[in-house]
């Protein structure tokens, strides 16, 4: 049996706040259905962007809606709040990436 090893734990377990994302808890692999946006149908109302619990819907004036698949858990809120049904949910294994 190898001796147990312990991680370095900072003083009183106090850790710095993340600035862009918390990459100590990557949640993209929670997803079984992936959101896919139909850019033609999308009206850029930003509802999906605002309602995402994981801040994983990105919005860009030029590019429109995109998803942060590193963290998206695939909950489907974006799809269900979309007023024009522009977001489909596709089985994760249908994608090669």
């Amino acid at each position: 049996m190898p001796k147990k090893s312990y991680p370095e734990v900072p003083f009183a377990a106090i850790v710095p706040c993340p600035t862009v994302e918390n990459d100590k808890m990557v949640t993209g692999n929670w997803r079984s259905l992936r959101p896919v946006v139909d850019m033609e149908a999308c009206t850029s109302c930003k509802t999906c962007w605002l309602m995402c619990p994981d801040a994983s819907v990105n919005f860009d004036e030029a590019e429109g809606i995109s998803f942060n698949l590193k963290y998206c858990k695939g909950c489907g809120i974006c799809s269900s709040v979309c007023p024009v049904e522009a977001i489909r949910r596709v089985p994760e294994l249908d994608f090669t990436d």
Binding site: P18, T27, P53, G76, I77, S80
Partner: protein
């Protein structure tokens, strides 16, 4: 004089910057996580969060990390109000003495229903009584969800939790009706509380503005935010916002503000939908018999009348 704050006009005009970042272990479709993100967005950079034990502590900080861009500290589930009081007086005193150069921050307690109105009620009440400049937010998912869905005072009548399983002797599951935190905290018993509001994650602009308003008021403010819980209420994760909206449409949740004790309705509701519309599709209510649904409807109707909602109410069958 009305309090000054920078109002958010629409979904599109919501602040871009995120303070509740991607990367946390909350459920897919977590209602409180939606709430946290909106609240952090509205509060902005000069904010300190205190997180009493609950899902929004444990799920967010698993493990030795967290998703906040602004300072955050854990408190016990019992003492969010007390620790926040300590933080607030410390900042005031240290600034007054010139020991720190900080601008006085927004101090927000993000407590669950247990940490607010059950085991945390003593500390919360004391904070409100003493008038600390703190925004105390009760994110309400109507159960002790972090421990695996146990009954809390906010679990609705008829709710199935692991502590209130329905059975032949107790067909409705939970027999008790919930507390009313708005009345308890902001119904006049804590004179220092000049602003309190209910909010829902289904109405994000309204919620964010209530956060800003609460922070703008001098002294303590209370916000009671309805946050559906897909795990605890047993419904598909994508329906979180949907259910939050249905709660408001059926009167299982009322949206209003209390400013100096004066009630303002946040949305005009002409007609409440029957509670069935809300109950259906939630696993926690599937066992209810018509008589139990009628009891819930009667409770909703009575609350609507007591609160003075001017709307057509569904019949109690």
């Amino acid at each position: 004089m009305p309090v000054q704050y920078e109002e958010i006009k629409s979904v599109k005009k919501a602040p871009e910057e995120e303070f509740y970042l991607p990367g946390h272990r909350t459920c897919a479709g977590c209602g409180p996580a939606v709430g946290y993100r909106l609240i952090a967005k509205a509060a902005g950079r000069n904010t300190i969060f205190l997180g009493p034990t609950g899902c929004m502590y444990v799920a967010n900080t698993s493990y030795a990390c967290g998703p906040w861009k602004v300072p955050w500290t854990h408190t016990q589930i019992t003492n969010g109000g007390a620790v926040a009081s300590g933080v607030e007086v410390a900042f005031k005193q240290l600034i007054k003495k010139g020991k720190i150069k900080d601008e006085f921050p927004n101090i927000i307690v993000m407590a669950g229903d247990g940490g607010s109105i059950d085991i945390g009620v003593q500390a919360a009440s004391a904070l409100f009584y003493r008038g600390h400049d703190v925004l105390f937010i009760m994110y309400d998912n109507e159960s002790y969800a972090n421990t695996g869905i146990q009954v809390s005072p906010m679990t609705p009548y008829g709710g199935n939790t692991t502590f209130t399983p329905p059975g032949p002797m107790i067909p409705e599951g939970k027999k008790l009706f919930p507390k009313d935190p708005m009345l308890i905290f902001a119904g006049g018993g804590h004179p220092a509380v000049k602003y309190a509001a209910t909010a829902s994650i289904a109405y994000p602009v309204d919620l964010m503005n209530k956060v800003r308003k609460g922070l703008a008021f001098e002294g303590p403010a209370f916000l009671h935010v309805h946050c559906p819980c897909p795990k605890g209420w047993t419904y598909p994760a994508e329906r979180t916002i949907d259910l939050a909206k249905l709660a408001v449409q059926t009167g299982m949740w009322f949206l209003y503000e209390l400013e100096d004790g004066v009630r303002t309705w946040s949305r005009k509701v002409d007609k409440l939908r029957p509670v069935e519309d809300y109950l259906l599709g939630q696993g926690r209510f599937t066992h209810l018999e018509p008589e139990h649904v009628a009891k819930l409807q009667a409770w909703v109707n009575e609350r609507a009348q007591v609160l003075g909602l001017n709307a057509t109410l569904p019949p109690v069958r």
